[in-house]
Assembly symmetry: C2
DNA sequence: GTCTATAACGCGATAGAC
DNA sequence: GTCTATCGCGTTATAGAC
């Protein structure tokens, strides 16, 4: 794919990064479940068994990508600090960050939030990372909701779940319909402002 | 799985139904992508190559399930006629029908609305069925929106897409969190009334 | 010890001859 | 319907090279 099919005797960590990079390329081009352990080896100029020096199994590669995906996700959600601003600004920013991560990392997003590989089960360590990241993201959404000074008649957890579902649905449909378009464009990618407005209209103090 | 592993000399159509039934069982138990052509044959008491007398390939089985899935989906959405009622009743009914189909046919739903098998591409005939079904479902949602006599400030197509995204997000998250619970129960499965209320609050005439 | 190779196993989908 | 065979897959065992 990217690396010349010649033998390589480099540093271990670099090889590991190469493997993960090639794996992501393949997942993007052929689909997450179409990742081939053998093909990664061949792309690196190795015989398939040699790849076992770097990863114990094909699922170990999935696992590392899963773990790193949630780390990146948590980092990006955290960097988008909850700056105040006009009504809805904080919600809009949170939704956009979520959708942008999905659009720019469609391979990881599938692996993280869907379950396209039946026999891949994340390791306990990776599951812990993912739970932490999801909780951190949830706090971002809680803050985004609170900062809007809303008047919600239902339990706050339900309001949060409605927000999450709305955002998740927009994201999934954007990826299904216009995966190549950035957030803000495309049939569903452009609807975040309208969704925020709808939430404000429904819940804003009167 | 269900059928005894004995030879069978029955009618062709019955065998085809058996194959599809067994395939659905496997997809439900092991995941859509884990369907095994060989295992279907063995369950039927056949040698794998014999199965080619009924389906040209493994993907042909997927294709038939995909096509039938959209037929059932369209039928169920159509049967839920747009009866009038209290505000929100029609929207609630449409959302529930959609989510119920997904919950009761999780194997088909994955095959139809996600793309868990990278090298399965629906045939043109099946794609036509799916497009027709999706358009019919869309009309149901349009009717549900119109029957509510709403005051929407955005283009009606955008309102429709927001509705679809909301519903899709709730459904996906219900299946991810409480796949065993029927519509109406579970963290997200119980939120349809709240979602409808939110839509009414945002869009209802004042 | 670390990296590589070759050989081989069991499984999958599938094609062809009977 | 069968049996045989091909090919690719993930994986293991084993042995040689740095």
């Amino acid at each position: 794919m990217t690396t010349a099919p010649q033998r390589r005797r480099r540093y271990r960590d670099e090889t590991i990064e190469d493997i993960l990079r090639i794996a992501r390329e393949m997942m993007r081009k052929e689909g997450v479940a179409a990742l081939s352990f053998n093909a990664i080896a061949r792309t690196l100029g190795m015989q398939p068994p040699s790849l076992y020096n770097y990863f114990d199994s094909k699922n170990a590669i999935y696992d590392e990508l899963f773990r790193r995906g949630f780390q990146d996700f948590a980092r990006q959600m955290a960097e988008r600090s909850g700056q105040d601003g006009p009504p809805g600004e904080n919600m809009r920013s949170a939704m956009e960050t979520y959708m942008r991560f999905a659009q720019e990392n469609q391979d990881l997003y599938q692996l993280m939030f869907q379950r396209p590989v039946p026999d891949f089960v994340p390791s306990e360590a990776s599951m812990a990372v993912s739970l932490g990241a999801l909780q951190a993201a949830q706090m971002q959404f809680v803050n985004a909701l609170h900062s809007e000074d809303l008047d919600i008649e239902i339990p706050v957890e339900q309001a949060l779940d409605l927000f999450i579902a709305f955002q998740h649905g927009l994201t999934e449909l954007h990826l299904a319909n216009n995966p190549e378009l950035p957030v803000g464009e495309g049939r569903f990618g452009k609807l975040i402002p309208a969704a925020v407005q709808m939430i404000l209209d429904a819940w804003q103090k009167v």
